[in-house]
């Protein structure tokens, strides 16, 4: 029977929700183990959070100074060392998982599946390609490990109702020194919800017109308690940071409510929001492709409509 190892994504303190979504994916097929590997400098807090996820059978804590920052070249040989006990190795389809899992697969001498959106048994999976314009069903061979990333927008996070045992594992693998972490720079957030897990997201596009005007998007988001996103055009134009980009090559999200302001809706953007509960579009152009997928469309000048909406939500 399938034994699944999930690579935890975390920042040293908190487990990223993508990990709990990998657990949910593994729980959709028959398994005899769902274990989580926590590679960290000091993984105590993260291992405890991982052990609490419903369905998890064990947590492997791999503490090492080299694991202080997540570097694929450093983590991959350690994951490979653990992988021999498992039939499946999963990671979230985030920049962390996308960076790491192909490296793990190649070191194991196997291919990798990207963006699992559903599992039909332990060896058969669906995944999107062509910017979500098509869904592929593939069968993986059973004679070698399945290394895969899990499309986080397709799964709900497993709940924290469990209490799995935690064991420690010492690193045997030789770790490379050719890759060095320098720093992380992040200038967004401002206490707002995380874009990838928020129940509500307000995104701005080219129509917003400038970085200054993007303030309007932030104001509406704050009124709704929402995270802020952006189209590629808005990020390319410097209105918003790259970490806010929603779409094929940015973040794929599934909020309950998605409000798109001044976004025409290129296919690459639509693929990032297809799983949203309700999509609202506000745009002056009645022909904008976003209206084809929007549940509620408002053809209006955003500079009139958005302040009016903020006012109406007044409270």
């Amino acid at each position: 029977m399938a034994r699944v190892l999930i690579v935890a994504e975390h920042d040293g303190q908190s487990l990223n929700p993508g990990t709990a979504k990998c657990v949910s994916c593994a729980r959709t097929f028959e398994t005899s183990a769902i274990d989580i590997a926590v590679l960290a400098g000091d993984g105590g807090a993260v291992a405890a959070q991982a052990a609490a996820l419903a369905g998890v059978t064990g947590v492997i804590r791999v503490d090492h100074p080299a694991n202080e920052s997540a570097l694929a070249a450093v983590a991959a040989p350690q994951i490979c060392e653990l992988a021999s006990d498992y039939t499946h190795v999963f990671g979230p389809s985030t920049t962390f998982g996308k960076d790491l899992m192909p490296r793990v697969a190649a070191l194991l001498g196997v291919g990798q599946l990207s963006d699992i959106m559903s599992a039909e048994g332990a060896w058969r999976f669906k995944r999107p390609f062509y910017a979500g314009n098509a869904i592929l069903t593939v069968e993986a061979p059973q004679d070698r490990p399945v290394v895969a990333t899990v499309r986080t927008a397709s799964y709900q996070a497993a709940e924290s109702t469990g209490k799995a045992p935690i064991r420690e594992h010492a690193v045997d693998a030789a770790l490379p020194a050719h890759t060095r972490f320098i720093e992380t720079r992040s200038d967004s957030g401002g206490g707002r919800p995380d874009l990838q897990t928020a129940a509500c997201v307000v995104s701005g596009g080219r129509g917003v017109g400038s970085k200054e005007n993007f303030e309007l998007i932030y104001r509406l988001a704050d009124k709704l308690g929402a995270a802020v996103g952006a189209s590629r055009a808005a990020v390319d134009s410097g209105y918003a940071g790259n970490e806010l980009q929603v779409g094929q090559t940015g973040k794929i999200i599934a909020p309950q409510l998605y409000v798109a302001v001044g976004i025409s809706g290129a296919i690459q953007h639509l693929t990032g929001i297809k799983d949203a509960g309700v999509i609202v579009a506000i745009n002056t152009d009645a022909e904008a492709p976003l209206f084809e997928v929007a549940d509620i469309g408002l053809v209006a000048d955003l500079f009139a409509a958005v302040p009016e909406l903020i006012e109406a939500l007044g409270g």
Binding site: L71, A72, A73, T94, T95, F96, K98, D99, P102, A105, A106, V110, G111, Q112, S114, D115, R124, P128, F129, Y130, A131, N133, A134, I135, L136, T137, V138, E139, P141, P176, H178, T179, F181, I182, T184, R185, S186, S188, Q196, C200, L224, R232, V235, G241, N242, E243, Q248, T249, Q256, I267, V280, I282, F291, D295, I296, L298, V299, A300, L309, A312
Partner: protein, 252 residues
Amino acid sequence: MTAINTILVPLKRVVDANVRVRVKPDGSGMALDGVKMSINPFDEIALEEALRIRERGEAEEIVVATIGAQVCTQQLRGGLAMGADRAILVEVGRELEPLTVARTLLALVQREDSQLVIMGKQAIDGDNNQTGQMLAALWGRPQATFASHLRFNGGVATAMREVDAGLEVIEVDLPAVVTTDLRLNEPRYTKLPDILKAKKKPLETVTLDQLNVEPETQFQVLGIEPPAQRPRGVKVGNVDELVQALRQKELI
């Protein structure tokens, strides 16, 4: 003497980013007959970056390579017109899985004694986002994925990476693999004289056999289907109606 003699830039021929592709009615594949084909946009960014590195005097030569049928020479000629020095076609009659592509690229890296591979983070058809990382693993060398800024100092590259949290800066020793994100640069337009000049640049054809690569197919494709369609929504006339609709759905 520069730190880098040869930069290898793999180019993939893909459906143009502006084409809305659909699944064939019989589900046997994508309807690609007669659609416009282009260099994968991320690969174009990779080539632009390589050109800038060479223009700064930090590299000697740029080789573009692709794996596919003869028709892919169109994209190689496009790469030569942009400014690459020479091109290699690895002639293959069918689509290869990323692991075999990575093995093929490794064979090219070794054949060309390349110190740097710059390539797209993903191809916009397969959307796998795997090949660069796999190549780096097989090569036993560093990877700087999703790069939005790249600088060299002797044998060390400093890359800024676009990650979920924002931007991350890492340092890697050469040789290395860099995969490109959208904001790394804006590729140049090719001019007509460059297109004519490209016709005279060397383009070599090799086979997988010559590179000692055995293609391997691991995943069996069972079907291709169109995605579920969202039901058609409604248009509201003004902000009040929008607020009403949101209240009705208990979203606010």
